[in-house]
Amino acid sequence: MTKDMNNTDIQIAICGSAGDGTIASGDIMKRAAALMGYNVIAFDLYPPEIRGFGKCISRIRISSEQTYSLKRESDIFISLNDNHAIPHVGEVRDYGAVVFEDSLIARVPEGRHISAHIKPAQVPYAFSIRQISEQATNSARSRNIVVLGFIAGLYDMPARVFHRVIAAKFATKPQIVIDDNTKAFDAGMRAGGAVFKLDDVAVGKPRDYSNGSDAVMMTGNEAIVRGFLEAGIGSYFGYPITPATSIMERLAVEIPRRGGQFLQTEDEIAAIAATIGAAYAGSRAATATSGPGLALMSEMLGLGVMAEVPLVVVVSQRGGPSTGLPTKTEQSDLNLAVYGGSGDARRIVLAPTNVEGCYRCAGMAFEIAETYQTPVILLIDLYLSNRYETVIPSEENTFAPKPRLRPEIAKGDIYKRFELTYNHISPRALPGEEGLMHTITGLEHNEQGRPNDAIHSVMSIKRHEKLNSATRFPGLTVCKRFGDEGPVDVGILGWGSTFGEILETMFEAQAEGIRCSAMKVVMLSPLPMDEIVAFFDDCREILVPELNYEGQFANLISGAVGRPVTRLSHVTGSPMVIAEILAEVRRLAGSATPKQKALGS
C-alpha cells in the first residue's frame, strides 16, 4: 500500500502522575491538532486524587480521515512518570517513538526506569525534560509543555498553532503563565528539532490551519452543552460530580450570558427539584449528574414522570456501585436510567454513541421532552463525556424551540392538565397563562390533577402509551445498521460510547472476510423494536459488547426480542478493547483460527 504523504493517522499517548500536567498537555495537543484541521479522537484517564500519585494518560488520535475510536496501538508515547508509564509502553507500535526523561532527580531501583522496558523495535528518545523546563521557566512544572514542544520539533509541527492554543488555554491566567508555557514549549521544540528523527511515524502536512477553529473539536460534554444552547436552554441546576461536572462548568459560563438561570444547589436532590420547578414554569430546564446522583434523583425523577414535566437529565456513567470508580468509565447505569425509581415510571432514554450524537441528542432532547411531557435522560458515560472528537455542527440551528400551541378550551370549561386524548398527550399550559390555572402533584391524579387513586390504571396506560411514537420522532436516529447487508454470520449490537470500537472491529472483521454487520441502538427506552427484530432475523449470531458485568443492554434486548444473545462484558474501567471484540467475532463466525495475514499487515 502506498502511503499518501499527506495522509496522517497517528496516536499520541502522554502518561504521567497526577500533578504532572499530563491531561493539560494532552489538551493542548488535541486542540492544536484540531486547529491544524485534523480529525481528533481523544480520551484521558485520570485518578480521583488531584495530586497524590495516581496515573494519568491522555491518548489522542489525530487523523486526516474519519475515525471511530482510538487505535489499538499508539505511535508516539511520552512518559512524564516512568512508574506509571512502564506498564503502558508496550502499547507503542514497532518503530514508533518513546519519549522519556534522561536525568531523574532521585535514584530508581533497578528496572524501574523506562529504558529497561522499551522494546527493541521501538525508538527511544531520551532528553532532559526537567532541566529544560527549569531552564526555561525556573520551575519543573512545565515539563508537560516541554515534551509537547519536543514532539512539535521532532515532527516539524507549526509552533504558532501551539502558541495560539497555549494563549487561549491560559487566557484567564496572568500573562506570565502564558509566557512561561510558551517559553517551555519553544525550549522543548528546540530540543526536539535538534534530535535526529529515527522513528517512522509520518505526520503529513496539516490540511489547513489558517481557518481552523477549535469549535470543531469537542468532548461529549461540550457537545451536549452546544446542543443545549442551540436548543435555547433556559435553566440549569446542578451539583458537581465526576464526570458530568464539565457540563455544569461550561453552562455556568454560558447561561448567565443568555439571561437564563444557573445555580449550583446544595445537592442533587435540590438540583433536580429546582429543574422540575423551572420546567413546570415553562423554561427549557436540565440537570446533569452521574450514577450516584441519578440514584439520589430517582425519587424526583418519578415526580417528573408522574407530574408529566418535560425536563432533561444528562447522566454520564462512571464505574459503580456506590462511589465506585469515580474517574473510570463504565456502562452500568442502564438499568437505573431505564427502570430506576419508585413505581412504573417509563421515561425516554437516549444513548448517543459519539460526540456528534451527543450534540444532536442534546439539541433534540427538549423538543422530545416537551412533545411527550416527560423526563428525557441522555445516557452517556465518562469515555464519551471526556473524549474529544471533531464534529461538524449544523449550519442552521434546527433545535430552537418551535412555537407552542396554547391549549384551547371552551369558555367556562375547566382546564384538564392531564386530559385523556387519542395519542395520550395532553395540551400543556404554563403558569401565568390566563384561564388555565391547575395543580400538578406527585400523587396519582385525575385529568385535572386532583389526587385520585381510582384512576391509576387509566393513567398508567396514558403515561406508558404516549411514548410509543417516540421511536419514529422526526429527524432523530434511534438506531442504525452498518456493514454487510442481508444475512450475515455475526451481528454486533451496541450502544453508547462502545460503538466506536464496535465499528472499527467490524471493519477489521470484514477485512478478514467475515460477513458481519453492526447496529447501534440510540433510543433505549422505548426500544425501536421493528429494526431490532429485523436485525436479529438477519444475523446468525448476535454479539453484544458492553462495559458492565451482567450485560444490562443484552438483558434489555434479549428480554424484548425473546432471543438469546452472546454477551461480551468488559469492566476494567477503561474503554472497550477492539481485540477482545474481534476475538469473539472470529469465534462466533466459526473461523477457528484467526487469519494470521490480517495481523501484521
Binding site: 514497532d94 518503530y95 526523561e101 534522561d102 536525568s103 531523574l104 532527580i105 532521585a106 535514584r107 530508581v108 531501583p109 533497578e110 528496572g111 524501574r112 526506569h113 529504558s115 529497561a116 522499551i118 522494546k119 527493541p120 523495535a121 525508538v123 527511544p124 528518545y125 531520551a126 535526529f196 529515527l198
Partner: protein, 342 residues
Amino acid sequence: MTAPLHHVIIGSGSAGYGAAMTLRGEDADCMITMVTIDALPFYNRYDLPGVFRGHHDWRKLLAVPPARYDELGIKLRRSSRVVDVDGERQTISLAHQEDVAYDRLLVCAGGRSYLAENLIDSVGLMHGFGSFEAAMRVYRALPKGGTAIIIGGDMIGIDLALTLLDTGYRVVLIANQQTFWPHVVEPVERKRLLKALENKGMTIFADERPVGVLDTRNKKFSRAVALESGTEITGDVVMSFCGLSSSVEFMLGAGVDIERGILVNPELRTTNETIWAAGDICQIWHDKEKIYKFYHGWKNVRVMGELAARNMSGSHEIFDVEVEDRLDIDDDGNLRSTFWTR
C-alpha cells in the same frame, strides 16, 4: 539450583553484539543486558558510508531484526549512558540514576574519534560520523556534488572518502600522522597510497597542519579550514578522522587498570575478576612484545567480543591473532586492507 548469571555488556557495537550472541549460545539460561548510549539496536558502523548510496532507512542496516533480541532474551537498554562502574559492589550506574547489578561485566564501549587539541574550539563547526544519525546529518549537509574536507583520514575516513568520490562528491584530504590509521605505513608507501587517492580524484594536502575551522555560511561554501601556512580550504562539511581514543572515563572507579584503554590480559579479563573488556576500548597484553596493544578493525573487534564472551562463560582462550598490517589502494582507488573491508 543457582540463579542464572546476569551478564551485562556495555556497548552495542561489533564487539558487544558478537559477545551477546555468543553468550546466548554458550548459556541458554543466563540473563543478558546490553547497555548502550545509542538509540538503535546493533548495526554495522562500517556500513555507514552507505547512506551516500541511498541507504536511509536504519532498519535495513540492522544486523538482525529487533524482535530477535526478544526471542533470544537479550535485554537492550538504549539511550542509556553509563557514568560509573563499581567493581566491588558489581553494579553499573546509569546517567538517569539507576544502578544495574551484574555478575559479569563486559566493557566494549569502543572509542570516540580523536580530535587534535588545537581544533577543539572548532568542534561545533565540524561533523561527526560515529552513528547513523551523524552520518545522515552529513548526508543532509552536503549539497549534491558538494565538497567534504577530511582532516587526517583514518581507514573509516578513507572508506567514506572513496564512497563520496564514487557517488559524485568532491573530497579534500588534509593528511597527517593518522592518515591510514590503524595501519602503520612507511613514508615511501604513504606517498604512493596518497598518489593513488589523488588519481582517484581526491585533492590532497600532504604536509599541512590545520589550525582552525571557520564558519563561512554566508559565502559560496559554508565552511573553511585554515592551515598553518595561511592557506584556506573551502568546502561544505569538515570532518576529522584521526583514529579513535577510547572512552574510559566511566571506568575510573571500577578498580581496573587503565592506560589509554582498559588493560586486559590475553584472556581479555581486566584486573577485576568479574570484568572483561573487548574491542577498541581495550589494550591487550602481548606476551612477546611485552606491551599492551590496541587491535582495531571490525574483524579483530568482533573476534574479541566473541572470545570475551566464551571466557566469561568459563573458557580460557587466548587472544592470539597475528595481525597482518597490509594496505593497498590500486590506481582505480580499489582499497584492500587487512583491517577494513568495504
